[in-house]
C-alpha cells in the first residue's frame, strides 16, 4: 500500500473510531459516575491507614499489590534495557565537554533537586507526591551532574545495591503481614495521629523504598542510554 493510500485509509478509520468513541462517551454520566468503591475508600481511608493523602492510601494500602507490580515493571524494564544495551555503561570520553553555563547551573541545581526530591518522597502520605514523583526528581538530580561532566565515570554498583535493598524492603514489609497470619501488604505499625510526619504506619516506609528504587532505576536507565556511546563511536557490545 503506497504511503498516502495508507494515510487516507487510517484517517478514514480514525474518524469512524472517533465518532463511535465520542457518541459512546456521551452515554457516560460525567461527574456522576457510580463511584461506590471510590467514595467508600475516601470515607474510611483516614481511620484505616492514617494517611491524609488518600491517593497514597489507595496506592499503598488498598491497592498495594498494584504498586508492587508497578515497581516490578520498572525493574523489569530497567533489567531488560540493561540486557539490551549491554553491561554497565562504561562512559568513555564523550564528545564535546558541557559548556560553562551548564556546569555552573548543574552545580547549583544538584542540592536543590536533591532536597525537593527527598521532601516529596518523605511527605508522600501527607501532601500530594510520593515515591514515584520524588524518585523521578531524585533521578533527575543524579543525572544533571552527569550531563555537566559527561566524562565522569558512572558507577552502577551503588545504584544496584540501593535498588536491590529498596525492592527487598518493600516485599519484606508485605511478607511481614503474612507472618502474623494476616494478609499480604497489611498496613503495619498503627495509624498514628493524622497530619504529623511519623503517621500512617508502614506507608511512609513503603514510599521511601519506592522513592529510592525508582530514583536509582531511572537514573541508571538514563545513564545507560546516554552513556551507551554515540553512533560515531560504537558503544560497548553486550
Amino acid at each position: 500500500m503506497k504511503g498516502n493510500a495508507r494515510a487516507f485509509a487510517s484517517a478514514l478509520f480514525l474518524i469512524g473510531l472517533g465518532l463511535m468513541l465520542v457518541t459512546l462517551f456521551e452515554a457516560l454520566p460525567f461527574g456522576g459516575a457510580p463511584m461506590q468503591v471510590g467514595q467508600a475508600i475516601a470515607g474510611r481511608a483516614l481511620e484505616d491507614t492514617g494517611a491524609t493523602n488518600i491517593v497514597s492510601a489507595v496506592l499503598l494500602a488498598y491497592r498495594g499489590l498494584d504498586t508492587l507490580g508497578e515497581v516490578a515493571i520498572l525493574f523489569v524494564a530497567a533489567t531488560a534495557a540493561g540486557l539490551v544495551l549491554g553491561g554497565a555503561g562504561r562512559a568513555e570520553a564523550q564528545g564535546t565537554p558541557a559548556g560553562f553555563i551548564l556546569r555552573a547551573a548543574a552545580a547549583l541545581l544538584f542540592p536543590f533537586l536533591l532536597v525537593l526530591g527527598a521532601y516529596i518522597v518523605i511527605h508522600g502520605h501527607l501532601t500530594p507526591g510520593g515515591g514515584f514523583q520524588g524518585g523521578a526528581i531524585l533521578a533527575a538530580a543524579f543525572f544533571v551532574p552527569l550531563l555537566a561532566h559527561p566524562a565522569s565515570p558512572v558507577n552502577h554498583g551503588v545504584a544496584t545495591v540501593v535498588e536491590a535493598f529498596a525492592g527487598a524492603v518493600f516485599v519484606v514489609i508485605g511478607l511481614a503481614g503474612l507472618v502474623g497470619g494476616g494478609a499480604f501488604l497489611v498496613p503495619l505499625l498503627g495509624a498514628g495521629t493524622p497530619g504529623d510526619l511519623f503517621s500512617a504506619g508502614s506507608l511512609p516506609l513503603l514510599y521511601l523504598a519506592i522513592g529510592l528504587k525508582v530514583g536509582s532505576e531511572l537514573a541508571g536507565l538514563m545513564a545507560r542510554i546516554a552513556a551507551a556511546g554515540d553512533p560515531a563511536r560504537q558503544g560497548g557490545k553486550a
Binding site: G157, V171, A183
Partner: protein, 487 residues
C-alpha cells in the same frame, strides 16, 4: 507452617523478592544467582502443589490483600485452574532453563519476573491488577525476546513491544470504560453488576478493547503478527516457554473476562470470529513456511485460535474443550521447539535427519499425530470435546468454525507429514548429519512420555478436567466465594 489461604500470594511475592536481590547476588557469583533462581522456581511449584488440596475441597482459595475485603481491596482467587497453570509455568521454566550462551544474571532475573507476572496473571481477581501483571509478563517477554543479541532479536522485540503497547493502551481504555460504567474493578463485584451495567454498547466496546489488548499475548487474530518473528529470533528455550505456557495464561484471562463479565452472544460471536480466522491463518501460513521455527510459530497461532473458538462456546462444555486444547498444546508445543532447536534452517536441508537420530524423528511423528488429533492420543479427545461443544451449542457461527477447523486439520497434516517425509528421506552424501545429544532431547522425551501417559489415563484425566471446567465456568460460585456475604 500450615498453608493458609493468604499464602496464595507466595507464587508472586517470592520470585519478586529473589528477583530484586538477584542483581546483587549476581555481582558475587553468576552460578549462585542461577541456582537461587532455580530454587525459587522449584519452591513456587511446590507451594502451588501444596495449595492444591486446600483449593480443591473449598472450591477456591480467596485472599484479600492488605486485609481489605473484596470490592475495596485487591483479591487473589486461586482455583484449581489457576494453580494448575502456575505449576505448569514453574515446571516449564525449570525444564527449559536458558542455555549457557544466552544466560546471564539479567536473563535469570527476567526468568523469575516472568514467573511472578505469569502467576499473578492467573491468580489475581482484580481487573487492573491483571493488567499490571500482564504488563510485567509482557515487558519480561520483550527482554527475553531480545536476549539472543541478534539484529533480528532486537527488531522482532521492538515491533512486538510497539504492538503490545498499542494493545495495552486499548486494554487500559477498556478497563477505564468498565470502571466508568460499573464503578468497581473487582471481578466478582463486576460479575454481579455485569447484568445491568456492562450490557449494551458500553460493555461490548470495553470487551472488544480488552480482547484486542490481552489478545496480543494470547495470539488472537489481528494482533498476532509478532508471533513468527519473535519465536524465530528469540532463543529456542525462551520460545518454548512463551509458546507453550505464557500464551495460555493470557487466554485464561480472556476466559475469566468471558465467564464472569461478558456472557453476551455478541461478545462470544466476536471472539469466535477472531478464533476461526486465527485457525485458518495459522494453518495456511504454516503450510507455506520454510523453516521449522516459523512453522511451529504459525501452528501455535492456529492452536490458540482453536482455544478462542472453544472459549467462545457458552457453558462449561466450551470451557472444558478450551482447557483440554490448552493443556494438550502446553505439552506438545515445547517438545516441538526442542526438536526445532537442533533442526534449524531450511526444512529442505533436513533430508535424512530422521535416520541419524531416529528417537527425535519418532518423537516428531508422535507429536504430529497428537496435534492433528488422531485417536487414541489426547489431541483427538480435546478436538472431540471442542466439536461436541460447538455442535451442541448449534448456530451457524459454530458450524462454520467446525468446518474451518476440520479443513485446517488436513492442511496441518499436509505440512507436518511433508516434514516427516523429508526427515526419513535419504540424506545426500557429504553433509554432516544433524545428531541430537540425549541431553538436548531429554525435555522433549519427557513431554512425549507425559503425552503417552495422558493417552493411557485419558478417562480419569477427563473426569478431573470436567470437574475443573464446571467449577471455573460457574460465575455465581466465583462471586459467592469472593464477596463476603455477597452484597
Amino acid at each position: 507452617m500450615t498453608l493458609t489461604a493468604h499464602h496464595v500470594v507466595l507464587p508472586v511475592a517470592l520470585p519478586l523478592l529473589v528477583a530484586f536481590l538477584l542483581p546483587l547476588v549476581g555481582r558475587l557469583s553468576d552460578g549462585l544467582a542461577r541456582l537461587l533462581a532455580q530454587l525459587t522456581t522449584l519452591a513456587v511449584a511446590v507451594i502451588a502443589l501444596l495449595l492444591w488440596p486446600a483449593a480443591s475441597d473449598g472450591g477456591a482459595l480467596v485472599s484479600a490483600m492488605g486485609g481489605f475485603a473484596a470490592p475495596i481491596g485487591i483479591v487473589f482467587y486461586a482455583d484449581k485452574l489457576a494453580l494448575m497453570f502456575v505449576v505448569a509455568l514453574a515446571v516449564g521454566l525449570l525444564l527449559f532453563r536458558p542455555r549457557r550462551e544466552h544466560d546471564s544474571t539479567k536473563v535469570q532475573t527476567l526468568w523469575l519476573l516472568l514467573l511472578a507476572g505469569g502467576s499473578g496473571l492467573v491468580l489475581s481477581g482484580d481487573l487492573f491488577n491483571i493488567f499490571v501483571f500482564y504488563e510485567i509478563t509482557a515487558v519480561a517477554t520483550y527482554g527475553l525476546g531480545a536476549s539472543a543479541h541478534t539484529g533480528a532479536g532486537y527488531g522482532a522485540s521492538l515491533r512486538y513491544l510497539l504492538l503490545s503497547a498499542l494493545g495495552s493502551a486499548f486494554a487500559l481504555l477498556g478497563i477505564a470504560l468498565v470502571y466508568a460504567a460499573a464503578g468497581t474493578l473487582n471481578l466478582a463485584d463486576l460479575s454481579q453488576l455485569a447484568g445491568e451495567r456492562l450490557t449494551g454498547p458500553m460493555g461490548l466496546t470495553a470487551f472488544v478493547l480488552m480482547v484486542l489488548g490481552f489478545g496480543v499475548k494470547a495470539e488472537l487474530f489481528p494482533v498476532n503478527t509478532w508471533v513468527p518473528e519473535v519465536y524465530t529470533a528469540a532463543p529456542t528455550r525462551v520460545t518454548a516457554v512463551l509458546a507453550g505456557v505464557v500464551s495460555k495464561l493470557a487466554m485464561v484471562v480472556i476466559l475469566r473476562l468471558l465467564v464472569l463479565l461478558f456472557q453476551d452472544p455478541a461478545a462470544l460471536g466476536f471472539l469466535l470470529l477472531l478464533g476461526a480466522i486465527g485457525v485458518a491463518a495459522g494453518e495456511l501460513a504454516a503450510f507455506r513456511s520454510r523453516d521449522l521455527h516459523r512453522t511451529f510459530a504459525y501452528s501455535s497461532i492456529a492452536q490458540l485460535g482453536l482455544m478462542a473458538v472453544a472459549f467462545s462456546i457458552p457453558g462449561h462444555a466450551g470451557v472444558l474443550a478450551g482447557i483440554a486444547v490448552a493443556l494438550h498444546h502446553l505439552v506438545v508445543k515445547p517438545a516441538f521447539f526442542v526438536l526445532a532447536d537442533r533442526w534449524r534452517g531450511e526444512i529442505a536441508g533436513l533430508t535424512g535427519a530422521g535416520r541419524t537420530s531416529p528417537l527425535a524423528a519418532g518423537l516428531f511423528v508422535l507429536l504430529s499425530l497428537s496435534i492433528i488429533g488422531i485417536p487414541p492420543l489426547p489431541g483427538f479427545w480435546a478436538k472431540l470435546m471442542l466439536f461436541k461443544a460447538a455442535i451442541d451449542a448449534g448456530g451457524a457461527g459454530n458450524l462454520t468454525a467446525v468446518a474451518i477447523i476440520l479443513a485446517a486439520t488436513v492442511i496441518e497434516a499436509a505440512y507436518l507429514f511433508r516434514v516427516v517425509g523429508i526427515l526419513y528421506g535419504t540424506a545426500p552424501a557429504g553433509r554432516p548429519p544433524l545428531r541430537f545429544t540425549l541431553g538436548e532431547l531429554a525435555p522433549g522425551l519427557l513431554l512425549g512420555a507425559v503425552l503417552i501417559a495422558a493417552t493411557v489415563s485419558v478417562a480419569p484425566l477427563g473426569d478431573g478436567l470436567t470437574a475443573m471446567a464446571a467449577d471455573s465456568a460457574d460465575a455465581a460460585a466465583y462471586a459467592s466465594r469472593v464477596l463476603p456475604g455477597g452484597n
